[in-house]
Subunit: 333 residues, 2 copies
């Protein structure tokens, strides 16, 4: 059983995934090992993953886990958290821990092994964003869960361990530190100004027009004012909404358009750059919030600048966002 | 002039180091480029670095920046922050920025290019820890500075751009987020318990004896209860002290002994593992604090597990610290 542990000083929760444990030297080997030709995410290999929890595009009447599909969501075969059991919260002296109860799912974004997410046509890419919504809605019914992290690792340097294009959902019984910090920070702003800080950012960025990468009637993509990484981008809905699960079909289409354009701009600047994206949305089971605003953050993984920053919270970024924005705007698509 | 920018939601400060700016494709090239045979940190090349601000082991009467030395501290030739100028704090709409005033120094830990920090003999390694103390003391005289970050990147994967063994100091006009979070967290504990949380951790870890990697009369090395990374280690003085600059010669010797042993244990588990270490100490110009306790955190950089964690504050660690501790204890030195 995995375990959730809380740092007693910072309040930061960590998943100790014992089942993934390895001998010390295995860590180094994994870093460079090459993969064989077998892909568990490809059509025809459905029986090598746990049974699907969501599928789009299979013809009516075909059995579950058969090969005809456009997108599948399956539980992770090596989950960081497990779905069965009680939280069993315990103290160990001054420390806090609980059982690693949660869900860990893989969104297989296309049946084609060689498709890259950024190159997917609109009608295929939209399935991923719809799957995020539908899976969060379903996981929210489990009262043990307080948050669903949605993210994608693209490229080995960004943590992807399988080539076949996929993203992940992790349902958690706790709120990650990033979420509580954003909620606290935006609430503080709201109490002072009586406005959503994200709405104010969007308003200012449209006016200044120096960090606005691209836009459409429903969304903007910004190079944020204080980015951790060169070419970091935030994709934000123009209309205030704290919860991704409330997204409708028209908004899904607008999101897909701007996500596709933003990633293609990034890829044109730095071909095949590894990146992570993370959905930032409100906690499960809370009312809609006036002070919070859902969005996606896309953070390229440029190892030449990632040093000790991730362990210290202190970032040095050699690329002003205004300059990154100019590059991103000017590329030919 | 570099710039300090604050994220308006999280309050996280970022350094925008414009002078280090590059074209987009340069980021990818840097990642794999090989270095020529020239090392600016080697004896004989003193003129290729800015003039030294501290030197140990040069014979009396020899001129500054001549080749006879055991340890040198020099300003970084490509500093993230610059020493001359005013902070000039400004608003840009809802954003906050100031000039990137600060100091960025390089501690050249040995004259020998091929020495690894973990293999340095006691009488050489101690110079590094003494240099940290002496440079922080000196930088503290500049009233513009509120904190000195002290850290080492070992290995390219951990952000080291030069092979020659070195560490770095960055004097900052703001408090990094990690520091304020630790101060806030430990103060909250102190107000509730009237005890230092770090002292309580040391006490509990010695009693439980399952995450205690090694110890000597003055220090303990722990595998922390909720580690971000496999084989993460914290080196903590047994005696309560909030400020590293108060360290005396006997304590420096004890620190050197346990640091050397801890790194050699780590290296015996995972040969030549890249790692970062960061000194955690109280802000400059504050009285000694009852609730805070200086320490070093050593975080191995194992790329196979570093995914989107650094951008989300959400960590999955496949190695329970009790198991890492057993490996670290059992290796032959």
């Amino acid at each position: 059983m995995p375990e959730l542990r809380k740092d007693p000083i910072l309040g930061r929760w960590i998943i100790i995934a014992k089942e993934r444990s390895k001998r010390p030297t295995d860590f180094v080997i994994e870093d460079t090992k090459t993969r064989g030709g077998f892909c568990p995410l490809c059509p025809g290999n459905e029986k090598t993953t746990p049974g699907e929890v969501l599928v789009y595009g299979r013809e009516p009447g075909m059995p579950a886990n058969s090969s005809n599909w456009r997108l599948r969501v399956v539980p992770n075969k090596y989950p960081a958290l497990v779905i069965e059991g009680e939280l069993d919260k315990q103290a160990e002296g001054l420390y806090d821990r609980m059982n690693g109860i949660g869900a860990h799912e893989v969104v297989i974004e296309s049946p084609n092994h060689d498709d890259r997410f950024s190159d997917l046509p609109h009608d295929q890419m939209i399935l991923t964003f719809r799957a995020f919504r539908d899976r969060i809605r379903d996981l929210a019914k489990d009262s043990r869960f307080r948050y669903v992290m949605v993210f994608k690792n693209h490229g080995r340097a960004a943590g992807a361990s399988l080539e076949h294009s996929h993203s992940q959902l992790v349902a958690l019984p706790i709120l990650p530190r990033m979420v509580t910090s954003e909620l606290d920070g935006s609430l503080k702003y709201f109490r002072y100004k009586d406005r959503c800080v994200f709405c104010d950012i969007i308003h200012q960025e449209i006016q200044q027009n120096v960090r606005l990468v691209c836009e459409n009637p429903l969304f903007v993509t910004l190079a944020p004012f204080a980015p951790r990484s060169p070419f970091e981008m935030w994709i934000m809905p123009r209309k205030h909404s704290s919860s991704y699960v409330a997204i409708d079909e028209e908004t899904l289409a607008g999101l897909t358009d701007i996500f596709s354009e933003s990633l293609r701009r990034l890829d044109a600047c730095i071909p095949n750059v590894p990146y992570n994206f993370v959905l930032h949305t409100q906690p499960l089971g809370s009312d809609l919030l006036d002070h919070y605003h859902w969005h996606f953050e896309i953070v390229p993984k440029l190892t030449s600048i990632a040093g000790f920053e991730w362990g210290s919270g202190f970032y040095i970024n050699p690329m002003p966002p205004e300059e990154a924005c100019r590059y991103l705007r000017e590329v030919e698509l």
